[in-house]
Symmetry: C2
Subunit: 542 residues, 2 copies
Amino acid sequence: MHGLMQDWPLLCHKILDHAATQHGAREIVSRSVEGPIVRTTYAETRQRALKAAQLLEREGFAAGDRIATLAWNTGRHLEAWYGIMGVGGVYHTLNPRLFPEQIAWIMNHAEDKALFVDLTFVPLAEKIVPQVPSVKRVIVFTDKANMPQTSLPNAIAYEEWLADADGDFRWKQLEETAACGMCYTSGTTGDPKGVVYSHRSNVLHAMIALVPDAMGLSSRDTVLPVVPMFHANAWGLAQSAPMCGAKLVMPGGRMDGEAIYELLDTEKVTFTAAVPTVWLMLLQHLEETGKKLPHLKKVVIGGSACPRAMTKKFQENYDVEVIHAWGMTEMSPLGTLATIKPEYLELEGDAKLDIQQKQGFAPFGVEMKVTDDENHDQPWDGKTFGRLKVRGPAVARAYYGGAGTEQFDDEGWFDTGDVAHIDPQGYMQITDRAKDVIKSGGEWISTIDLENLAVGHPDVAEAAVIGIAHPKWDERPLLVVVRKPGKEPSKDELLGFMEGKIAKWWMPDDVVFVDEIPHTATGKIQKTTLRKQFETYELPTA
Amino acid sequence: MHGLMQDWPLLCHKILDHAATQHGAREIVSRSVEGPIVRTTYAETRQRALKAAQLLEREGFAAGDRIATLAWNTGRHLEAWYGIMGVGGVYHTLNPRLFPEQIAWIMNHAEDKALFVDLTFVPLAEKIVPQVPSVKRVIVFTDKANMPQTSLPNAIAYEEWLADADGDFRWKQLEETAACGMCYTSGTTGDPKGVVYSHRSNVLHAMIALVPDAMGLSSRDTVLPVVPMFHANAWGLAQSAPMCGAKLVMPGGRMDGEAIYELLDTEKVTFTAAVPTVWLMLLQHLEETGKKLPHLKKVVIGGSACPRAMTKKFQENYDVEVIHAWGMTEMSPLGTLATIKPEYLELEGDAKLDIQQKQGFAPFGVEMKVTDDENHDQPWDGKTFGRLKVRGPAVARAYYGGAGTEQFDDEGWFDTGDVAHIDPQGYMQITDRAKDVIKSGGEWISTIDLENLAVGHPDVAEAAVIGIAHPKWDERPLLVVVRKPGKEPSKDELLGFMEGKIAKWWMPDDVVFVDEIPHTATGKIQKTTLRKQFETYELPTA
């Protein structure tokens, strides 16, 4: 027996239609790449997205076509997304921080047919596009006056292009499972892998994100997504903000502390989201200038673990609530958020920070579990860690082209590659990456826990832990340390500092001092390089 | 091109699974029909729902089977719902306030195969079930000790029944569009019509309801659904509360002011929802006893228009925010909620009450429009009214058995039967029922507006307006008035009071005084009866 409810497919254009109908005059404020602040509304954004869709159709683009964007967060970028989706196309965000060869590889893999590009990235695109023969059209997010001389083929200024349409277009009606967006993840090893979002997954993800225990956004909020749209849909804010009619403030290309502060202040931003690095810059700016954050209520911090001191500063010095969050490109990206359950509502000070140091719990629409290597569920006791696996309507079931099949199992679980534990209240905490965890005598040792402990020593600037092959225990931990300038802590001093704070068998077998630890482009420790560096290293025999 | 996201069907059991996993120890507190307060949790509720599903399967019930419930809001009723849905069945709520013959007609129309019934309604069920041959099994929501002697066929006490299962059951995996629930609407004319909810519509409806601009529920809330589960899923709270892990307080059969106050107070309820009649009783109890509502934050008021004085009292005397809402059984039921958009945030006093008198705006997932009789869209100017039509994933596309097809059009719009206007900010206000509106010279006159104006006169106890046939204007308004005891306002006095407050052509052609105005069982004015009563009435000629 079927339900007798309306067939109302979850298509992304319905988000913009809703915003334009119910919140039509609400603003989208952008710091343009040209410089000035630009103001538009949801009603105008819909009208311009309709024009973009109309033009794409006129130029022969059709359902399923991948159309790349290489751009900062601006109103124009948002219009282009909805225009691309509205003609049935697939927006494909490119990360400008990758090497040109990597971007070209990704574009060729996706077979992108067109490119929307910011002025900033025209020189970068000029290096890439000649290597990507599928690209037939380039649209530069600017107006005719600011359009540069360019070797890009078939290039036009966005505003000039849009002026040629009247917006008399009806959104393409597709199945809700049709592709609408694409984003490649760049692991530390192997080729990048493409995640393909559907209209359904984007709409459901935005609904999941809006609830009070997740981001809790309303039409009364002013949202500043500092996290770029090329990082997993700006953590969904490109959909969830219009879905609830929140005012949007787009930072364009300037993400330094002063620039972010300026927008937070002048636009009275209530909600913002970004990686810890951005907040370090903002906090530094605030401390240097003595400025405050009277309007800001919530900041979502994710992408990498939020330092405890950062949470403390935001909450105690600026009265801004921190929501520590975790997700992945493969999860659209929200996985967990450390909002406060009623059991923890009375906590204050350090006890509250302890909870907020965890990555949080899963809202409805995200299932998670931790398993051992034999896929047995681990208990939710807040200490037994294992591989973190997730399931949900906004979680990938495969990568584009079939890469990485080993990460997906028959029951629909996606192996995140993270190692974590979950406490009895459902709060998850990442303890390691699966490929970094040290397996010693059948048990796991968290390298992140050891690193955090080691950097707690006042003379340590940075620390990394890797596993070294061991004839009896398979692997044993080696602690690699960068000392602070002018400090000379000894191996015994550091081990003495760690002793008693962790299980005995977790204690590193050795400590080595180096001048530098290798990092990835996004600032994470490059453990593959480190492991190669210590390939021939031999642990001392006891 | 398809998205590569997981196939994670929107099935109702996922709501309870999530509640049990992430909020397992959170309580469901019920005032039992036997008397005492009973406490359970989401984890236990899931376990008991699994047992119910296991037993239903063992007894031969299968996917698509309609299983009726005749019960108050209690934890047991909730368990039974999820048990029925978990075996693929369709819960069918019955309204005990209908006549036994009506209930029997509805059960026969739905071909219900089993019945879950509260102790209170065993005598009523004994009158009904013999008329419904499809019912093979009756389960009484009580334990063996409290099980009455009954003529009901194949009856068993719920607790005795449950004790026979171990809960080792896997929820049936269905298409998300499969039916999961059923509720009949009883119009003032014609046979009742069955609305058939799907798993998908119930899940999406709960997600729509949770967002801050709708109900805004979180795991930190304690929710008291006074609105019965047999009224359109307790306005969705039977799904949205477990979806966010809110503590649930179920009022059982006692809905008087004292009983409701007691639960609000002892369980520290933060959120509640019911029709105005319930709140009249509560406010009266509070005024008589001088009690306050320190825990309660929000009250959702719908089902019929919320009197302005009620909103004012809740907000000014008790610091409880009122959310005026509108919906229909056909809409699962949420349509609009009068939460406050940023444009209205600074309003206070009467200006704020003016907005809250409206039924509110539609969240994402509900589309609405007003049209004239020729289906032309009317402007959103806050005064031009027309037929209110809606669309969405939780809106019916048909009635069970095909009744009422004239209410559904080709573009998927459902004609609500209400007449309304929408203001430029998207706030909708009901001005009449379509069958009550007076059509005079091609223009519409709102009977509700005239009635509200007339009862504003200090000597008027109640007022009703109906259309009387007129040779030139088709219809003209007649005002029917019940005077307050001891008061004798004249026709001229009343018309003088109304003059200048409405358009001239809206002025009633005549006023008649009566001792009583006929009402329906739910307290609404019975205009069909009134129109029959004044069938031969002749308007005075000017």
